[in-house]
Amino acid sequence: MPDLHLDHLSKSYGSLRALDDVSFSVAGGELFGFVGSNGAGKTTTMRIILGVLRPDAGTVSWDGKPVDLEVRRRIGYMPEERGLYPRMKVGEQLTYLARLHGLSERDATAAMEHWTEVLGVEQRRGDEVDKLSLGNQQRVQLASALVHGPEILVLDEPFSGLDPVAVGVMSEVLRDRAAAGVPVIFSSHQLELVERLCDRVGIVRSGRMVAQGTIDELRATDRPQWELAGTLPAGWTADAPGASVTQAGPGVWRVEAASAEAAQAALASAVGAGTVTSFAPVRPSLTELFQDVVSETEEAA
């Protein structure tokens, strides 16, 4: 399956370095979550993919060839700042956008009908976009990104401002598109959602890609941690080489160990000293990973 490849992208606005040597690729059928603080460079990256911005250096390629206008017409794009003609009717607008992407009048109308139904705005086809609630405008916006049957999806914060039902519908649509072989890139600040939905995640900070991989890869660390709970004498410390124990709360300890054996030794020491009710590896959430990565790079800087 073809993949979308971003190669050493750099972009500056005056003295501000918005993107600094960013590279990653998204394979067909993969959901790629793009995470970063405000101003980290997510929107700039997406705009470069869409060709609305030109990078100072680097290339974007699809299926091994540079992305040109022909390829871009087959990308579905949802910009960060929502954009639709406020005074144009929903149906007309979606048909128009589909035709701009090269669909015939008949196909465009059929696609418009399909996506307004899937996204639950089929009752509003005859209304001007202005008249819709923000949530419904958001649904129409997603429809506008999907209406031409894109081969690549680039969505900037598609979930912001949606109610839980709509979040469900939209997640379903993204999964469905990915299953159809479309590479999907989206950015979001809702990290639990990214964690649940994405095959791979990229974390950007100050224009640099500071971490990328599957959630499990991101979790992988040199010093895994375990959480130990139970009743142990005050001032207990593990008698195990290569493991360090810190009390994380009343009756809860955090064990940091270089290896699984060291962790086992720490557990054995605890069992010898009192009662242990639970011992489990700590699986940091994406939120924690994100905070770690961001603060690490901050220290490095």
Partner: protein
């Protein structure tokens, strides 16, 4: 190409089918057509000659002289012999009453009628002259022929002699005024359209699939067609009204020539102004800020308009007029005005058209650069230099 057409078609449909546009065009057409139909009877009344009664007993001899004089002066009067009442009074639909004697008649009118007075005076003099010539044994007909043949020839020396022809002035004035309004309206529509796309951010979706030049070009084409329809909605009823009221023949300059002039300079002026202002409009992000671009636009259009109105009539082929004729932004107003005065050589028109055609690609390039550089910029007004530098 098909994308350009799609954009143009949307632009055209949205503008033309908007309620405001339909209503204003409808009102305009209705006012002109209904106005012409309502005005027709009044204007037709003028076609009927005013009736003047001449007292049979005392002034009947004046009638042939009155009729001849009225005809010579192209005045619409009918003279009818009637028996004047003892107390002079004007009957129904009677404009005047003339009582003898022939040498010193009395004219009774309701209001002062200078034309009729003049006719009566000339007729009296002619009648008296005839009487005197006959009395002296001469032939009045010979005298009249001799009088008619004696006409001075006036030759003007120097340059200042060209007379001011109000008909030509108003024909030229009408053309450039309609041109001005159509151009200023379409420029505003384009600018508002560009800013609307910018402020609603839809431009980012569009630019992901369409080149900036195609987007701007499609807008210009669509709004151009819209402006043509608007102009036609104004001109066609006007032509109909003029034809219906029989006014077409009164203009010394042909309607065909006026329309040709209008069409050529509509296309050229349109390309010059709207493309340029469409590009500039991308510098602003919000409708509130649009004044920053519309003010220079108004100036750039009003200065040539005023110069054409004031300069051309006083000095139709002076050096300043000739030079400005060749400056692209001035040409759309200068050339039709000078052409209406018949004061422009064909090569000047050809050169002006040629220079405009040559200037258009350069302007399109500048406007395209500004547009592409500025259209994705958000926030405040962007400086022209930054837009040109940005890629």
């Amino acid at each position: 190409m098909s994308t350009l057409w799609l954009i143009a078609r949307r632009e055209f449909r949205v503008r033309t089918l908007s309620k405001a546009s339909l209503i204003s065009s409808g009102i305009m057409i209705a006012v002109i057509v209904v106005g012409a139909i309502v005005a027709k009877p009044f204007l037709a009344d003028d076609g009927e000659p005013s009736l003047v009664q001449v007292d049979t007993a005392t002034a009947a001899d004046l009638v042939p002289y009155l009729e001849a004089t009225a005809e010579a002066q192209d005045a619409d009067y009918a003279f009818e012999e009637a028996d004047a009442p003892a107390e002079p009074a004007l009957g129904e639909d009677v404009a005047g009453l003339i009582l003898g004697p022939v040498e010193s008649p009395t004219l009774y009118v309701e209001d002062g009628d200078d034309t009729l007075t003049g006719i009566l005076q000339a007729a009296t003099q002619a009648a008296v002259l005839d009487a005197q010539v006959t009395a002296l044994g001469g032939d009045p007909a010979e005298v009249s022929t001799a009088l008619a043949a004696s006409a001075p020839t006036v030759e003007t020396l120097g340059d200042g002699g060209s007379s001011f022809d109000s008909g030509e002035f108003f024909a030229g004035f009408a053309v450039i005024l309609i041109l001005f309004f159509v151009l200023i309206q379409s420029s505003s529509v384009i600018m508002m359209g560009v800013v609307e796309e910018k402020s609603s951010r839809v431009v980012e979706i569009l630019l992901a699939t369409v080149k900036p030049a195609t987007l701007l070009g499609g807008k210009v084409l669509g709004v151009g067609l819209y402006a043509l329809v608007q102009a036609a909605a104004m001109i066609v009823p006007l032509l109909f009204a003029s034809w219906y009221l029989g006014l077409l023949g009164d203009l010394s300059i042909g309607v065909g020539a006026l329309l040709t002039n209008f069409s050529i300079w509509f296309v050229l002026g349109f390309a010059l102004f709207t493309v340029f202002f469409g590009g500039l409009a991308a510098l602003v992000s919000r409708q509130e800020d649009i004044g920053a671009v519309t003010t220079p636009m108004m100036l750039l259009m009003m200065v040539p308009l005023y110069l054409a109105i004031y300069l051309v009539p006083s000095d139709p082929d002076g050096p300043l007029t000739s030079i400005l004729t060749q400056v692209p932004f001035f040409a759309p107003f200068m050339v039709p005005m000078r052409a209406a005065f018949g004061a422009i050589a064909p090569w000047e028109i050809a050169l002006a058209i040629g220079l405009c055609v040559a200037a258009i690609p350069a302007l399109v390039w500048v406007a395209g650069r500004v547009y592409a550089g500025a259209v994705l910029n958000t926030g405040g007004r962007m400086k022209l230099r930054d837009a040109l530098a940005r890629r």
